[in-house]
């Protein structure tokens, strides 16, 4: 039991595999987000995969390791940036005409940067959903820690 307290998280095997795979999972979430207007997926699915990579880190390395680098306040700030970015994109349509107007042009179909405001919208949805899920998971963990200390 003492070794567990000194070394939070799971065994060495899980930690090594996590170190290798977390970057790939994060990259896959970004890929799903960036290709949201071409293939199935989009901001929500990409955000969920991004949040899963953070949750994977928490499960493997323990709570304190992640909170030291990425506290719930930082997650809240990123979440707010996502919501604010979406509103900014929507309001920037007023520059040319109406709410949610496509001001970047349509581009050629089936190219990566083609669908106007859909790609920035997907990115902001990814920020909102990913860090929202991550902070919800963090809050569920922090609940237990604060109450057991009392």
């Amino acid at each position: 039991m003492k070794q567990k307290n000194n070394n939070p998280g799971m065994t060495l095997i899980v930690k090594t595999v996590t170190r290798l795979t977390v970057g790939l999972i994060m990259l896959y979430g970004l890929y799903i987000t960036f290709h949201g207007h071409l293939t199935p997926g989009g901001g929500f699915a990409g955000g969920v995969i991004l949040a899963l990579s953070f949750i994977h880190l928490i499960l493997a390395f323990g709570r304190d390791f992640v909170i030291k680098k990425f506290s719930e306040k930082v997650a809240g700030i990123f979440e707010s940036i996502g919501a604010f970015l979406f509103l900014t994109i929507a309001v920037s349509g007023f520059l040319a005409g109406y709410f949610f107007m496509n001001i970047y042009g349509k581009g050629t179909p089936f190219k990566l940067f083609s669908a106007g405001i859909i790609l920035p919208c997907n990115l902001s949805i990814m920020l909102k959903v990913g860090f929202g899920l991550f902070s919800a998971f963090l809050v569920l963990i922090l609940f237990t820690s604060t109450n057991s200390k009392e």
């Binding site: 071409l38 293939t39 929500f44 089936f110 899920l133 809050v139 569920l140 609940f143 109450n147 057991s148």
Partner: protein, 115 residues
């Protein structure tokens, strides 16, 4: 009858979740039953939009237009999944609080309604 078989299976999945909620005494199992009901309803809505011999409603490059399934229930189900996620988070938070107060997940032992 064979035509409606997927819907009947959906109903059976719903009843499995309902059984878990009514009969089981462990809070975690009740939450899992809630999740099963959620997914059975999502599956039902997606099946309503299905058409035979048709493809997913996304056009890709160099592809001819083919009969597609109805995309509206799929968009609706995406929203329903998010709501189900929020409900599950809320229920789990309540379950954690109950566990800290009573030190058990058994609902027959969680009796005191005061404070």
């Amino acid at each position: 009858m064979m035509q409606h078989l997927p819907y009947v299976l959906c109903l059976i999945l719903f009843l499995v979740g309902l059984y878990a909620i009514i009969v089981k005494k462990n809070l975690i199992k009740i939450i899992i039953g809630l999740g099963i009901i959620d997914y059975s309803l999502n599956l039902f809505l997606v099946l309503v939009g299905y058409r035979k011999y048709s493809f997913f409603p996304i056009l890709s490059k160099n592809e001819q237009v083919q009969p597609m399934v109805d995309p509206l229930p799929q968009a609706l189900v995406l929203t329903a999944i998010v709501i189900g996620l929020a409900v599950t988070m809320l229920v789990i938070a309540i379950a954690i609080r109950l566990y800290e107060k009573y030190r058990t997940f058994d609902i027959t032992e969680i009796r005191k309604l005061k404070g």
